[in-house]
Structures are given as C-alpha cells and as structure tokens.
Amino acid sequence: MASKTFVLVVVAITALSAATLGAQSKAPAVQDSRRFFPDDPLWMDDDMRNIAPVAKDDLSKSYDFVHNTFSKGSALSGPSVNVNTLGEVPDSSWFTNRIGVRNMTIDEVLRGPDTIDGPAPGPWEVIGKPAAGITPKFAIRDANGIVFLIKLDPASVPELASSVELIATKIFHAIGYTVPEDFIATMDPRELRVGKDARFKSEELEQLLKYQPRQADGTIRVLASRWVPGKVVGSFRFTGTRPDDPNDIYPHELRRELRGLRVFSAWLNHDDARSINSIDSYVEVDGRRFIRHYLQDFGSTLGSGSTSAQQPRGGYEYLIEGDKIRKGLLTFGLWQRDWMKAKYSDLPSLGNIESQVFDPATWKTEYPHPAFEAMDGEDAFWAARIVAQFSDAMIRSIVAASKLSKAEAAGQLTKVIIERRDKVVKHWITGINPLDQFELRRGERGPILLFDNAALRLGITAPGETYQTMWSSFDNMTGLERPVSDVEEYSEPVSWVPTTEFGPADPSGARYIVATIRTMNAAFPQWKAPVKVTLRDRGGVIDIVGIDRSGAGARVGSTTNN
C-alpha cells in the first residue's frame, strides 16, 4: 500500500505544483510553485541515479490480459507529466531523443542500437531455451562469447517474423526507445553445439530446425537478438511505478513516450505492445547502477503474428469487445467489420499488412492498453511529428536491411509502411492546433516570434489559414496572465514580441510573456484551440521557455470503429 500511496502523492505533486516537468499546467501556484524554473526546459531527466539491486518482478501475462480487459478505470488520466516545459520528453532511462530532435542519416538509422556487426561466425554454443514467448527460439553464445537469442521464422511464412522484427527495431530505436541489438543472421546448423548446461536436448534443437527453409549452402536465415546488457529484473507495466525503484516516480500511464507509443505502434501494427514485451534491466553505466527500460520482441508487427501471419483482426479489434460480439451475433453477418474487407498481398513474407483499411484513430492492441487509452492529442502530436521525420528513402533503406529475398516483397512492404506513415501523420498532426518550430528572430521592431504550421510543412493541408495571436504578461509566481495586446490576425505564422510587456520578475530575475495563438481554418475547427508560447527575458536575453498545447489536448481514448 505504501507504494500506491506514494504514487498518488507523486501524482498530486506533479499535477499541482512546480515539481512537474510539464509546468504549463493550469494548476494554481502554491508557495514557491513557480511555473518555470531557471533550468527549464529540462532536456535530461536524471532517473539514472545509482540504486540498490532490485528483485525480479515478472508479470503474469494472463493477469495483464484479464485486468486490462475487464477492469476499467484503474489507470490514472490527465496530461502527461514527464514532459519538459516545451512539451518534449527529456532523455531518461526510458527514452533518448533521436530523430525527433535532430537529423539522422540513413546510415545512423540503419546502425540503430548496434555496437557490433552481429554474431561472429564459427561455432555457436546453444546455452538454453527461454520459456517466455511463443516464437521458436533458443539462446547461443557466439565465437566471441556474446550471447544472442536466435529466433526462427515460422516455416509457413519464411522471412516474415525476422524481417518485421528488424524493421521495427531500427524504427523504434530511431524514435528514441531502448531496444535490443537485432540482426538478420545466417546460421549454419553444422556449427551449433548444445552446451552441457543448456537443459535443451540436441534432438529438440534438431526438431526446431528440421523444417526451417534452408539456403543453397544449408544455412538458415534467423533473427539474432543480442542479450540485453545487465540483469533482467522483469517487465515494466503500463500503469503505476515500480515500488522498489526510487528513480521511477512518474506513473507509467502518464509518461508521454509510453502514451505516444500508441501512434508508433499503430504505424507499424505492433498490436502486441504490452508489458510482457518489455524488459527492465538492472544495468551499470559509468559506475551508476539503475534500471533501463527496453522495448523488445517485435515479432508481432506489420504483417506478422509471430508464429504465423498476423490475424486479420490484429490491430483492429480487441480480443474481447462485448458490443461488437453482440452486434456481430444479432446482425446475422450483415454487419461486417471494416477489417473483414481488407485485401492482403499473396506474398507469404509480407503476411497480413495493408494500408487502405488501416485507420490510425481506431487502431488497437490485442487488449486495452492503459497508457494508450490515456493518450491525448498532445501526446499524439508529439509522436506524429517524430513519425514524419522518417523519409521515404529512410523507410526504403530500413526495409532493404531486413533482407527480404523477393524485391517485390520489399517494394510492397515499403509502400505500405510509407502509406501508413502518411495516414498516421495526417491524422494526429491535424488533431490539434499544429503550430510548431517556434523560434525567435530579431526583426526591425524588435524580437519576432516565428513558427510554422506542421500540417502545411508536411503537405497535409494547403495554405489559407490565418493566425490569431494575443499577448499576455505572465507572473511566474502566481501563474496569473494579464492581456497586454489585442488579438492580432496574420496570414503568416509570425508575431512581434511586445518586449515592454513582460510580467514581474521572479526570484531568479526572469520575466515572462505569453503568446496565445489560434489557427483559423474552416476545415479544422479544432485548430482554434490555442497554443500558448511563453517567452522568458533574463537580463535582456529572451528565450522560449514554454509551449503549452493543453488547450487542444483533449483526451483521445479508444474510439469505436466499424
């Protein structure tokens, strides 16, 4: 109970005081609960402090299913609390900003998390067979002594599981998650030796490999996933915090990177994005020991369902949805789910993946996901901006790295991923007022706040909207805003900063002013909801310290689909 109480306390603190990273909340200011601190915006959340060893905390996958399917309302709601004052996710043991904040080269994306080039050729010692998961697999130690998990493709859909896992690993790493080093490798069964302590019979190994498709030289294509560093101490949950980890203070369902994972998962059809496909590993880095949080096991992404092609329902409907079952029964088949109309490629190595019926808004995991349910428009916008960073050429190269033997398959998969990317970006970028890329420039009358419209920049909409801006002075200690200008409407995404109207100085000497900006576009009435941009003046040096999209951050939740 102590841990639950603590969670509630932390949530209260983070939601109502300045101890939250997301400081532009509408919470009342109390005591020294200033909205902005001198070190804002924070780009590093130091949750990698040295901690004592922790016990293993294995999750029951059945409980996860039962609890999330039948128990409603146990997760917290409200805006994400682990974001900085710009609405961005700071680097942490959960997430490292990569393609969202800087340009990555294709080579960099393809390199991903890899620190080596894959398992070394030569004899591989089979050292065990993990019980978890449904993918046929076993662990080996390569000639250099490095441990890998070897995952086999289902014989009926060769190349499918390994290719999607590699693609997803590269993309999730570029996004910012911590993932294992995965490789498409060639395994020579003649080089396998079952170790003495493997608790895995040679005959079992032979059976596993017996019907695997062979290449001309007798080798087998496999996915080699390097054992993650450190000591595995369980999986992380998508609610609450880990009670034995002092670094873990934000309820997981209120972490933006875990809520925004819904957008990425929808893009890549990662319908198995649940707790058991995560790893908490107790690692040591630069003398500090802490828990690092991994996403892993992407075998059920895109067209793959790990041990077969993806079920056509996958990504469209939870395993149990009472209203759909009733409707399905009572309409005698006259009502058909949209996913029943989907057409898939005949190529086995693509499985069941398509982009035409796919709907980013109604995409679903296998069963309700508390962090995904909690995602709001701000989380989705954050994620969609990152998705938009993946260029066509980058996607083409990532698919090529998965080494599909048929060029036709690679081409079709690339096309589907690009089309799904476009749908995801279009839906979630336009879901809220899409003002973005704020910067200050010096104009002839003083500083100018310049920004752009992400929907325009990404070619989703045509020009034609106007921008209404109103300036208010801001008192950082009380949180009070006082309008200092009329509403100005421009056809350009720009506004002069009224430098004489900054609010009173806070204890650090900084003064603040807020621009409240609405985008007027008849096709997108939701863009009228304002984005608030806070500027800070520290001795004549002005910077952008706050971006608040909460006015447009309505909870997205799980929408119904047909």
Binding site: L21, R49, Y63, R441, I448, E489
Partner: protein, 415 residues
C-alpha cells in the same frame, strides 16, 4: 478588438535576422530548479521503497501462466467422455502419448507411434473404455496404420421402429466391443485411400430408460432385426476421400468428399450379412470473403442384403441427432436407406465464435426408389461454434423440428 494584418513579414524577418536571441544565459537562482525538485521527489521515494507485490488474483494467474493449462499431467488428462449424443453429461480420463520414445513430437517423423487410452462414464450409465495405437508415416511414406479397441456399454439407446412413419419409442441396451485395424495412404496431400478390418461383438438387450418401454415389449425380432441375438461381425471397409478444405476442424472454404464401402459378415451366420455404403459430401462456399459462407452437406447411407438376410437395427442407417436432421433425437428414423442434406449460412460473429442458421432435411426408406420429394423430414435452427484461430473447440446447436426443440452441445467437429 481584432486587428487583421495581411503582411508578408517572413521576407522581412529573413532579411533583418542577424542572429538568434534565444541564448542560454541564465540568472543564478540556486535555491530553485526543476532538476533539484525531481531529485527531491526521488529522494523521498527512496525512503518508501517496497518490493513489488502481486495481488491474489495475479498470483493465481501467474501460477496458471507457468503451469500446464490443459489439466493434464504427463499425458494424463480429463475429457468429456467422448460419447455420442443421448448419453447425458459425461466425464472421463485419458492418457495420450505422442511420438512415443522420441524426444520431440514431429508430425512428419517416420514410424511415429502415438497412444491414446481413455475411460469415461455418463450420468445415464454409459461407459466406454478405449485404446488406440497409431503408427504414422510408415517407413517415411504417407501411410498410417491404426489399431484400436473399444468397449461400449450403452444402456438406453432409442429406437422408434423402422421406416419413415415409425413412432413407437422404446429403449434398448447395446454393449459392443470393437477391435479395428485401419490403414490409410495419402498419395497426395488432399487424397486419402484406406481400408479397415474390424471385429464387432454387439449385444442387444433390454433398455433402462424408465420413461419408455424396453424394446422387447413393443418389438419382436421380425420388426427389430437383431433383437434375438447377433453374431460377431467381421467388417471390412474401403474408403476414399478428397479433402481440400482450408482447415479440417474449422473450415472456411473448400470441400470434403468421402465414400466408405463396408461389408458386414456375421461369423458362422449369414442371415445378418449385409453391405453398406456411406457417402458424405461437404462444400463450403465463401460469400465474398471468409467471414460469411454457405455450407452445404449431403449424406447418404445405403445398405443392401442378399436373399433373406436382414440388416440389424444397430447398423441400419439412421437420421436424427447432431450429425443429421437436427431437431430430431438420435436415431429417430431408421431404415435400409437414408439420405439427408443440410444448408447452413455461417457468419463470424466474433473472431472466436461463428454463428449459423441452418436447415436440415432427411428421409429414410426401405429402397431408394421409395424416395419421395415431398416426404423429407425437416428441421431448422441456429448454431454457435466456438473456435480458436485455427481449430474447433465446441458447438451448441439449437434445432427445431416437428417434434419440438432439440439442443445439442458438442466438443468435436464433424458430421
């Protein structure tokens, strides 16, 4: 007041921009900082650490996750008795060993040996003991051999008389021990050719169903052949089948066609010798996609005997029950010939549940030439089939015929 300025200021900005003003200079304010506040929150939590705890529900489900969920132990398992319809609620135990002597179960392993033993009993006193040994992929070829033994005690089977108009319900007891050897060859994946030899030792006696008279009260050996005793039978079968369904237990497309020709020879007794041919046709027609379909089935069971020989009632073609003419009880109609057909409109109500509306029709007759278009018994109803992504799990058929409502619960796919 709203001022509207339509300007092209972007160009001006670019021209006049002489550098960004968002420098990182920072006023010192050592007493306050975001990082410091977060650090304090972590310090606070470090004072309240507790080990992860599971609720009782989670502990139970964690145990469930890590143990065999099939209620089995080393091949020993519980089952539902595997009785035919009418036996009442049943239960039993079984022992199943796959690929005996092999470290792993390989479906294609040459000379693989499987063993099944089972025993069951129902609340109506039905009992079954069964043993079966399969030798699969003999010498690496697509040839399977099965040897089975089964002892059934069925104390209250139903009999209504012979012919389409029979209506005197009685009960009888059938005890039978069957020993069968069967060989199957699959020259192609979809084609199977087989044969079997079976020794059958049936005994017919008074029934125990207190609601109805026992068979000897209403019928005699002339109206119920076999009532005065049956010999042991040697049955020889020839079977040919073609199966192109996409799944044998949860098909969504394709067809299955099978013909079985059997010769029943009474040992030291030719008065009960007869021949029987069973034709089973199944065709599944998807309606646009795999989620809606029409399933058509047609079955015929035809018997023939030489001279004065009779076909015992227990081997007469029968209609009624879960396999044919739902809406009538098991074995409701019996005669030398039986034909039946069924049409089902099936739809996927849920990924794990199919529903179906069905119509059945069937007719028994002494000779095929007695078949009359207007004499078919009919039944209709709704059915539900629970299944996994690929396999059948259970079925509930709710049928209506002229004799009323008949519910059927089953755990085996097939007709």
């Amino acid at each position: 007041m709203t001022r509207t300025l339509v300007t092209n200021v972007a160009a001006i900005i670019i021209t006049l921009s002489i550098g960004s003003v968002n420098a990182s200079a920072q006023t010192q304010d050592d007493n306050a900082g975001r990082a410091k506040a977060l650090s304090a929150a972590r310090d606070q939590k470090s004072e309240q650490l507790t080990p992860p705890e599971r609720s009782m529900t989670e502990r139970v489900l964690y145990w469930y996750d890590n143990h065999d969920s099939r209620l089995s132990w080393r091949g020993l398992h519980v089952n539902m008795g595997n009785f035919s319809g009418g036996a009442g609620f049943a239960g039993g135990i079984g022992l199943t060993q796959r690929a005996i002597g092999q470290p792993v179960v390989d479906p294609y392993q040459a000379n693989r040996i499987d063993l099944d033993l089972s025993a069951g009993r129902s609340i109506l006193g039905y009992q079954r003991l069964a043993a079966r040994v399969d030798v699969l992929n003999i010498a690496g070829a697509p040839i399977n051999f099965a040897m089975s033994w089964r002892d059934d005690q069925m104390p209250q089977e139903d009999f209504y008389g012979i012919g389409p108009d029979a209506d005197h319900r009685v009960s009888y007891r059938l005890d039978t021990t069957d020993t069968t050897a069967a060989l199957e060859w699959k020259p192609f994946r979809r084609l199977s050719i087989g044969g079997a030899v079976a020794l059958l030792t049936p005994v017919v006696g008074p029934g125990t169903d207190g609601r109805y008279p026992s068979i000897e009260v209403t019928f005699d050996p002339a109206s119920a052949p076999g009532l005065n005793g049956l010999p042991e039978f040697l049955r020889t079968d020839a079977i040919v089948g073609f199966d192109w369904r996409d799944s044998s237990t949860h098909p969504r497309s394709g067809g299955h066609y099978q013909v079985t020709a059997s010769q029943y020879d009474g040992r030291h007794d030719t008065l009960n010798d007869f021949r029987r041919v069973d034709v089973q046709l199944q065709q599944i027609v998807p309606l646009g996609n795999r989620y809606r379909r029409i399933e058509l089935r047609a079955q015929a069971a035809l018997t023939d005997a030489d001279g004065v020989a009779r076909v015992p009632i227990i081997y007469l073609p029968a209609l009624g029950g879960l396999s044919t003419l739902r809406g009538f009880s098991n074995g409701r109609f019996r005669d030398r010939q039986a034909v039946s057909m069924s049409a089902e409109y099936q739809w996927e109500a849920w990924w794990a549940l199919d529903a179906a509306l069905f119509v059945d029709a069937g007719q028994v007759m002494h000779q095929l030439r007695d078949l009359k278009a207007g004499a078919f018994e009919t039944a209709y109803g709704i059915a539900f089939r629970l299944h996994s992504n690929s396999a059948f799990l259970a079925r509930l058929d709710l049928a209506y015929g002229r004799e009323g409502f008949m519910p059927y619960l089953g755990f085996k796919y097939g007709f």
